[in-house]
């Protein structure tokens, strides 16, 4: 059967939208990111424990003392494991996305309930929104909305809307037809029937839908952390890609705590706002007046408590905070005058090292560099649209060849700062008599018939599949597994601990070589090609917008020794303190900053 070019059509459509509706998408971006910034500023302002207290009062109002206590403990735990800022950023994303979703979903659900035809037309659309794998639209979302929070929020809205629409429709359809008829029979106009009879009676079901919306939003927001959405998603993503199980768990448990808090609170809110739920609540309370655990402050008391705590929080912030101002620079060093440079990074160690090194250097030159951690596809897409200015981790000409081909028109190459690199398959050194790819032949039993691969889209994987394995006659004998870098490294760790033979897809430079005793298998036939060099790429307009920074970056070089030392220093400083590691390392490199970013005529 002939291939149907469905994908091509979609791509054409996406290009058309991008070319002709960009102002529209820019408008959405502005509004949504404005909402996010506002909410995040509010949630991020107070002292963590004070905000935890405010949230605990909300829990007290909605569910009583026990819930308040558990909420406070859970939120304090988030702060305790150092995930507070990320958690608040995630919470802001969830709130913004959920509010927009509910504002869209409830009217749609009402419409669907009142018109069978609309309901029937919406159903397949909702199915599509709910089941289309999120990455399919998460990455293209960057075309339209740029990297950062907005594409994540949009994807979250898409993903979490269906239950909101469905439950609203269901709730309204479930309202006893005789009640609607009774309203009509007494001359109620359709709109008032909707507002006065159908919606109040459908409210418990609608609130169950809202609860679902929020929970789905949370799960999606975490996923969108991978494309630069930030928050706990980014924490978890970073941690697992460095096989930092402990940190991954800390981020994960923060997600769980947020999820449980949001779930219980919206569930209870559902009972608060619906007239029938309020009655049931009142009845429960009068039935068991004595129990302390049933205590609920009245809405007014809870409101006052929240306001008081918020005022205290605001006050503390006002008196305590001058954190945002830049340290004064020596005269003549302020080249950037606070201009923002968006640096993208894909979380490979050498990239992280170079990125934070430049972040430090640019800060010393008066710029405000912002580092965004993202998926490689998102990085190139973002940079091609100019939402990311520059990145320091492009492996060319081989590994990132596909991206370079696709986006070269809108990018510029600022040259390579490290190289050559190499791609290879490696085995632990305790595996005897395997030194070259050719030695793997006939030993597939030992290795379980597998070579542990990384992301299927990685350039090295493509090369292995198309050329290398065949060239050494390994393609029949070994299966190249696909997965993730984190998965590969986890398997490597496991095998090394058990002293089992394992063959993994790796590349140099990589910290795994310093952590484990490994043998890089030789490639006598040269099928991996000449090693890539690591390039600095920027958006086409970067050299004209930042001429000085472009010049500096063009002159940037690191030796293997320097890179190793820098990576080690960053590793020692620990996650979240990359820049401290950079500063420590810079002390051992006197004059490096001035060589990287020479001032004026000097």
């Amino acid at each position: 059967m002939a291939r149907i070019p469905l994908g091509d059509w979609v791509e054409t459509g996406v290009d058309f939208l991008r070319d002709h509706f960009q102002p529209f998408f820019d408008g959405i971006t502005t509004v949504v990111s404005g909402m996010y910034d506002g909410v995040d500023a509010v949630l991020g302002a107070p002292q963590p424990l004070l905000l935890a207290g405010i949230l605990a009062v909300v829990a007290l109002w909605l569910r009583g003392p026990l819930a308040a206590l558990l909420s406070f403990a859970g939120l304090a735990l988030i702060e305790g494991v150092g995930q507070w800022d990320q958690a608040m950023s995630t919470l802001s994303l969830v709130l913004v996305a959920s509010v927009i979703t509910v504002l869209l979903a409830v009217p749609l659900g009402v419409w669907a309930a009142r018109s069978t035809r609309v309901g029937a037309a919406l159903r397949p659309v909702l199915d599509l929104m709910q089941t289309m794998p999120a990455f399919v639209y998460l990455i293209p979302g960057i075309f339209f909305f740029g990297v950062g929070q907005v594409p994540g929020i949009i994807a979250t809205i898409v993903f979490s809307m269906p239950p909101g629409v469905r439950m609203t429709e269901l709730g309204i359809r479930q309202v006893d037809g005789e009640l609607v008829e009774a309203a009509e029979a007494f001359g109620t106009a359709p709109r008032r029937t909707l507002l006065g009879v159908q919606l109040p009676l459908a409210l418990p079901t609608i609130m169950a839908g809202v609860n679902q919306v929020i929970m789905l939003a949370l799960s999606m927001v975490v996923i969108s952390g991978m494309v630069g959405g930030g928050g706990l998603g980014a924490s978890v993503f970073t941690a697992i890609s460095q096989v930092d199980v402990g940190l991954g768990f800390e981020g994960g448990i923060a997600v769980v705590i947020l999820a449980m808090y949001l779930d219980r609170m919206t569930g209870a809110l559902g009972r608060r706002v619906s007239p029938l739920g309020r009655r049931a609540l009142a009845r429960e309370r009068s039935a068991d007046r004595s129990a302390v655990l049933r205590y609920r402050p009245s809405t007014a008391v809870a409101g006052v408590a929240v306001v008081v705590l918020a005022l205290v929080a605001g006050g503390l912030h006002t008196f305590g905070g001058s954190g945002g101002t830049r340290a004064a620079l020596p005269a003549g060093h302020d080249v950037g005058h606070g201009r923002t440079v968006d640096i993208g990074t894909i979380n490979w160690d050498e990239g992280v090292a170079a990125t934070y090194l430049w972040k430090e250097v640019l800060e010393q030159r008066g710029f405000r560099p912002q580092v965004q951690n993202m998926d490689v596809g998102a990085l190139y897409t973002g940079m091609s649209t100019g939402r990311v200015d520059v990145e320091l981790d492009s492996w060319l000409p081989v590994t990132h060849a596909d991206y370079w081909r696709k986006y070269r028109g809108s990018l510029t190459d600022l040259g390579s700062w490290y190289g050559p690199t190499s791609l290879e398959v490696s085995v632990p050194s305790y595996v005897k008599d395997v030194h070259s790819l050719a030695d793997l032949k006939g030993r597939s039993k030992e290795f379980g018939g597998r070579i542990i691969g990384v992301e299927p889209g990685a350039g090295e994987m493509k090369l292995l599949r198309s050329t290398v394995l065949k060239g050494y006659g390994l393609d029949k004998e070994y299966q190249l597994t696909t997965g993730s870098t984190a998965g590969m490294l986890a398997q490597l760790e496991r095998s090394v601990k058990a002293k089992e033979p394992v063959a993994v897809v790796l590349w140099s430079p990589h910290w795994a070589y310093s952590k484990y005793p490994l043998t890089k298998l030789a490639d006598p036939r040269g099928l991996f090609g000449r090693g890539d060099r690591i390039h600095t790429l920027a958006h086409r307009s970067f050299p004209s917008e930042f001429p000085q920074v472009s010049r500096w970056m063009k002159g940037f070089r690191l030796t293997e020794e320097q890179l190793g030392g820098l990576e080690q220093a960053i590793h020692d400083a620990g996650q979240g303190h990359e820049q401290d590691g950079v500063r420590t390392w810079l002390r051992s490199q006197p004059g490096l900053v001035d060589r990287m970013a020479p001032l004026g005529a000097a």
Binding site: E178, F186, G187
Partner: protein
């Protein structure tokens, strides 16, 4: 003069309803239409309801009586024919005018009470007044009065689900009475109640009627209920009214075998005893069996029959 008149009403569901009406007019049966995908719910219904009269429409389920009732206040739009209410053609009104008539002059009592669960008893009773735009104080006062009338004055702050079925339906009745409508449509209003309560409610309705003198169209499938309540009764079968007349007329001179079989078990003494005190007597103005006389309501009859019932 009659308050309400149904003038050759038709209601057809399904495909090509207008063609179906034409065919029904030229004598086609329900089955023929059903083969073509149309369902005739009401066929050529004509009757009048006088002021202060209880007019019962009786038939088995599926006979079209509920659809007929809903055409009387415009909840269902007739496929053909007219509804005249107090000289006004309801079928010609637009949505807003129709809603105004419904909120001020025609109210309805439902089979399963249809009380709003999120409103208190008082708020339920005041619902119609709220739709009329009556302000809160006035509304609560009149709703409370209506509740007193049905004997639920003390329950106004309760919630519907705290009341028994019979009490709930009395709230439904209070809601319908509170608006001071001229016409009450009662759709199998007592059918969901158990027999003892049903009997009580019937008595209460008759007592109230003595006092209020509303025009009532009452739908039921229960012949005894029809005989007990109705000043006049219309018997429906397969969407058509097969006979209408006073209870005595229906019992003494059934129009066809169907009606005859229907009334076989009815308590004749009771019906006839009641009928005997009516001036004019039963059957005096009747034509041949099967013809349906259009009787004007007899105001004079009301006093006599009430005595008899009490």
């Amino acid at each position: 003069m009659s308050l309400l008149e149904a003038d050759h009403l038709f209601k057809v569901f399904g495909k090509h309803p207008d063609d179906a009406v034409e065919r029904l007019r030229s004598g086609a049966g329900r089955e023929e239409l059903r083969e073509d995908g149309a369902t005739a719910a009401v066929v050529d219904a004509c009757f009048e309801v006088g002021e202060g009269e209880i007019f019962v429409i009786m038939g088995l389920s599926g006979s079209g009586k509920s659809t007929l009732l809903r055409m009387l206040n415009g909840l269902a739009e007739p496929t053909a024919g007219r509804v005249l209410f107090d000289g006004q053609e309801l079928t010609a009104l637009n949505g807003r005018e129709l809603r105004s008539v419904r909120s001020h002059r025609i109210s309805m009592v439902f089979q399963h009470f249809a009380l709003f669960p999120h409103r208190t008893v008082l708020e339920n009773a005041g619902y119609g007044l709220e739709q009329q735009g009556v302000d809160r104080g006035e509304r609560d006062r009149r709703a409370a009065e209506a509740l007193e009338l049905v004997g639920l004055g003390e329950w106004k702050d309760s919630w519907p689900d705290e009341l028994s079925g019979g009490m709930q339906q009395r709230v439904g009745l209070a809601r319908a009475l509170a608006t001071d409508a001229d016409l009450l449509l009662m759709d199998e209003s007592f059918s969901a109640l158990d027999p003892l309560i049903r009997r009580e409610m019937q008595e209460q309705l008759l007592q109230l009627q003595q006092q209020l003198r509303k025009s009532i169209v009452f739908i039921t499938h229960d012949l005894n209920e029809a005989m007990r309540l109705g000043d006049r009764i219309a018997v429906m079968r397969d969407g058509r009214i097969v006979q209408q007349g006073t209870p005595a007329e229906i019992v003494l001179a059934p129009a066809d075998d169907y009606v005859a079989a229907f009334v076989e078990d009815v308590d004749r003494d009771r019906v006839l005893g009641r009928a005997a005190v009516r001036p004019g007597g039963p059957g005096a103005d009747r034509g041949a069996a099967g013809e349906v006389p259009q009787q004007a309501p007899r105001d004079a009859a009301a006093g006599g029959k009430a005595v008899n019932r009490g």
